[in-house]
Every structure is written in C-alpha cells, then in structure tokens.
C-alpha cells in the first residue's frame, strides 16, 4: 500500500515515537513493504466470519475478591528514572 510521509508521521505520533528526518524514507519504505505483505490477507474470503478475539477456552474465570498487597510503594518506585520519597517525578509540564 502506498503510504505517504504525513501518514508515517501521524502513525509515529499515535505510537509516541519520533521518526527523524533521516529515518523517514526508510520507515516509509518498510511500512509500504509490510502492508503489501499484509494485503495477502485479501486472498481469503471472510464474508460472514466472526472475528476471533479470545484464544482461551476458559469462561468466567472468577475468584474471591481478597485484598492482597501486590507490591509495596517502595518497590513500585524502585525502578523509576526519577522519584522523590513518595512520587514518580516527571519533567516540568508548565513553563
């Protein structure tokens, strides 16, 4: 499928990725090749077929609603790039 540069940039924004000017051509070319490949699906007649969404055979998996501490606040903060004693820290939002 033909994909123009502005579509590549739009998809990148939705994916919260940056595509730099020098990467744009390659990404555009790759996406065109990949979607061409995906277009092979059109060979299959799917008229009236329900999409398959869940792979599990389990139905209504229920359990008691017990309160369990999964991780502590200390653990949750352990892998953060920036934090203070109680919070994740992010760069300043408002100037």
């Amino acid at each position: 499928m033909k994909i123009d540069k502005s579509t590549v940039l739009h998809i990148a924004h939705l994916a919260r990725l940056e595509v730099k000017e020098e990467e744009l051509n390659q990404m555009q070319e790759d996406l065109e090749k990949i979607t061409d490949f995906m277009d092979l699906l059109n060979k299959v007649d799917t008229t009236g077929v329900e999409p398959l969404i869940f792979m599990t055979e389990e139905i209504n998996v229920l359990r008691e609603d017990n309160a369990v501490e999964s991780i502590t606040q200390k653990d949750a903060l352990k892998n953060a790039a920036h934090k203070d004693s109680d919070y994740f820290r992010i760069p300043k939002v408002k100037g």
Partner: protein, 471 residues
C-alpha cells in the same frame, strides 16, 4: 557431561555436589563467552542456591528438580534479578516478582544460572536484534542460533545449563531449537501461565523449554503447566504426566501438500522430511497428504495481529514509571517520545509502527478485523484436521541455520517462521525434535503439532520419533 538431568542425578547419587555441577556449567559459560549467550550470570545467587539445594539433598528434603540448573530468557521475571528483554529501554530494570512458570520450577529446587540474550522484546528470528549484540551459534560462530530465544537455545547446546526457558510467539522456541539441534516445545496456548513473562503479543505468547533430551523437555513442561490465579487466560484443565511416555500405536498423520512442495525448502530439508515420512509409512502409520490453502497467509495474519498487540503492550514503556528516560526531554509528550525513540531498537519501532497503523482509524477493519477473521478460519480448519488426524508433521524450518547478517530484508526474515506460526495462530502445542542434519552437518528439526491440550500424546509420539534421529 551433565548434558541432561539424568546425568546430573546420576552424578548427585554418586556423591557429586550441586555446587560442583554449577562450577562445571560456569566454566562452560566462560569458554563460550564469544557466543554472547548470557546477558548476566547470576554468579552470587546461583552459588548460594546450589549450597541450599545440597543441604536439602543431604537432609532428604529435596524437590523433584534438585540439581537442575536453568538459564532463563531475558524476558522472564525472577524477583530481585535484572531483566531487560534485551532492550536498552529496560537496562538495569530489576524484577519485583517471579514469573509463575519459573516459581514452580524453583519450588521443586531448580536453580537459575543466568539470563540469556534474545531478540529485543522477542521480536526476531535470528537473535540479531538484541541491544546487547547478537548471539553466535555455538555449532558454528558464523551462523545465527535462530531467534528470538537464540541465547536460551545456544545455552543448552553449549552445555552451560541443564535446560533453559524461552518464549514462543511465532516460533521463537522451535526455530532456534531447529538451528541448534536441541529439543524445543511450545505448549498449548493457556497451558503455562504468562504471569511474569514480558508481553510481546498476549494472545500468542507461551513460555517453552529447551533441552538436550525429550525427557527433560517433558518434565519441565509438566511442572510449569497448570492453572494460575494470576493469569486468567491460563487453563484450569488438569495437567497429565507428560514425563511418562505411553507406547505409540499406529497414528494418523497429516502433512500439508503446500509444505511438501514449498519453494522455500532446501533440498536437504525436503529429502530428509520425505524419507522420514516413508519410514513412518513403512511402520504402518497413515500419512494423509492434505491441502492447507492458508499457508501463504499465516505469516501476514500473524504480523497484523502480533504487531497490533505489541503496539498496545509496549505502550507501557513511557519513561515515567520505570525504564529508560531521555535526558533532554521537556514536558510529558517529549518524555514519552524521546524515551521510547532512544530506548527501542529499529525492529521494535518497526513493529510498533505497523501495529499502530493496523489499529488506526480507517485501517482497523481492513487489517485488524480481517486478520481476526482469518485467524478464526485457520483455527476452525485446524480443528477439522485434528478431527481426522492425530498430528501434523512438517520441517520446523525451511532451512538450517543461516549466516549472521545474511538476511537483511524484514519480510524475508519474517518468512523464517512460515511453518511455526500456524501453532501460535491456532493455539496448538508443537515441538521441534532434532532429527535431521544437512550435508554440512548442521541440524534442523522436525515439527510435530498436536491437538489442543494433547501434550501427553505429543511427548509420547515424540519419544517414538526420536529413534529416527539421524546423527
């Protein structure tokens, strides 16, 4: 030495300590450094754990896996140990919990020697997509070990552990097993809990096992399997004794014409596979050559669905809660964009972009819904095949291991999975058995696919097939 659990147990019975066995494996890790198999050797914890198991053996309190030394793919969480999915974005990330599958092995006194290199976020078929360098095939350093669980496959064939764990989304255990001459199994979707496995495509992923013997493959699968309250997609079906093999009666075996006459098959693969089928026919099994008209659409269907799921799963890597954060980002959106763009490698970005595309407004129905419909057709067709047949046989891969850097086009690389993705699309259990070698002596596998939750039959029939191993 210590190539399998039977040898380990014999050594322990004759007085060798688990600590000594661990030292032996550590030496082999050192000898194979050039292959770049391990991202980290858990040097401290493994020695402590080995001593504890030795004590338990002495006190006659040891579990079923005492002495078993495992290597884990770098996407399986092990509490208080680092895990990175071979990505820069998770460099230095430390697991807060242990995956259920691994915990069950630890509960039986298995111990973990280290985490193995893989393709970043399990995306790849050659282990060339790791942020920490590619893995070399220990059988020939110019070749790839396969992927994405290339490090785990290499770890077993290089004798650096007794067994290893990998994950299989489209063939990531079976393809590297084929390329390294090891056993590699992907259980039925939902047989093994995915809790603590870093997600790539949640409706496809399963944790699987690499080993040098079928017995070890079956035993580890048996212990990992079964219901888990932490993964609601995990099956509540009872786990049978996979490690006890039944005698094989005459079987009905389906073979796809489209596989037999596939243009991607090398001569060696084609000949070995045909001659095995002849042997099976001579032994009285029924070989049914049937048409499977969906072979060409398996890989594209897989790519639409897995990239869509990946784009959603990987949205959690935002540079805020954990993982890499770009140093020079200003504001929230830039934090997301710069952290992700600097943290992810090119193949991961390509797949996130593809997945975002197929889920985006205007393309959703044409790609994502369409692929889900095709998936249902494939699953129904597979079910129909198993109503008349016990197993589906094919080569695991169309070729043996290829040279590093020799496959450059992404689509050509995706086609590596042409025979393996079927089982992930339909959820069936499948195993690669190291039966064959090409004219240069490089291994490639036979793939056996069974009906859903027929692991017991899969392992029993595999045990019969192993006698056709061509060494």
């Amino acid at each position: 030495m210590y190539k399998n659990f039977a040898e380990v147990k014999n050594a322990i019975t004759s007085g060798v300590s688990v600590l000594e066995i661990v030292h032996y494996y550590l030496q082999n890790i050192e000898k194979n450094k050039e292959c770049n198999i391990f991202l980290e050797v858990f040097s401290d914890s493994i020695l402590t754990q080995a001593k504890l198991v030795d004590q338990k053996i002495k006190n006659k309190q040891a579990g079923r896996l005492a002495g078993l030394v495992i290597a884990i793919k770098d996407n399986i969480c092990y509490k208080d140990h680092r895990v990175s999915a071979s990505s820069k974005i998770l460099k230095n990330f430390c697991s807060l919990y242990t995956s259920t599958a691994l915990q069950r092995l630890l509960d039986e006194d298995a111990i973990v020697i280290g985490r193995t290199n893989c393709d970043e976020f399990a995306m790849g078929s050659s282990n060339e997509n790791s942020a920490y360098g590619h893995v070399k095939n220990p059988l020939n350093l110019n070749k790839v070990p396969g992927g994405s669980s290339g490090g785990s496959a290499a770890a077993v064939i290089a004798n650096t552990c007794t067994v290893s764990l990998g994950s299989d989304t489209g063939g990531s255990v079976r393809q590297p097993a084929s390329f390294t001459g090891t056993f590699g199994v992907k259980p039925t979707y939902g047989r093994v809990s995915r809790f603590g496995l870093i997600a790539y495509a949640s409706s496809f992923d399963q944790i699987g096992v690499f080993a040098n013997t079928l017995e070890d493959t079956a035993l580890v699968t048996e212990i990992m399997s079964g219901k888990d309250s932490l993964d609601s997609t995990c099956s509540s079906k009872q786990v049978e004794k996979y490690s006890v093999f039944e005698k094989t009666e005459k079987k009905k075996i389906a073979v796809f014409k489209e596989v037999l006459h596939n243009e991607h098959l090398t001569e060696d693969v084609k000949n070995s596979f045909s001659s095995l089928l002849n042997n099976l026919k001579n032994e009285g099994h029924e070989i049914n050559e049937i048409s499977f008209p969906y072979l060409d659409v398996l890989v594209p269907t897989y790519y639409v669905l897995t990239t869509a799921e990946a784009s959603s799963n990987l949205s959690r890597f935002d540079g805020v809660h954990y993982g890499y954060r770009s140093k020079d980002a200003v504001g929230v959106e830039e934090t997301y964009k710069k952290s992700r763009s600097e943290g992810f490698g090119i193949e991961v970005k390509r797949r996130i972009m593809s997945g975002t595309f197929v889920l985006s407004h205007g393309f959703y129905d044409a790609y994502y819904t369409k692929a889900q419909q095709v998936r249902r057709i494939i699953k129904e067709k597979t079910k129909e095949i198993f109503s008349n047949n016990d197993f589906i046989l094919s080569p695991t891969t169309p070729n043996s291991a290829f040279e590093i850097n020799s496959v450059k086009d992404p689509i050509q690389m995706y086609l590596q999975d042409i025979f393996t993705v079927h089982a992930n699309l339909s959820g069936n259990p499948a195993i690669s058995l190291p039966l064959f070698k090409d004219k240069d002596g490089f291994p490639f596998g036979l793939q056996v696919v069974a009906n859903n939750f027929f692991e017991k039959e899969l392992f029993s029939f595999s045990n019969y097939l192993v006698k056709f191993r061509n060494d």
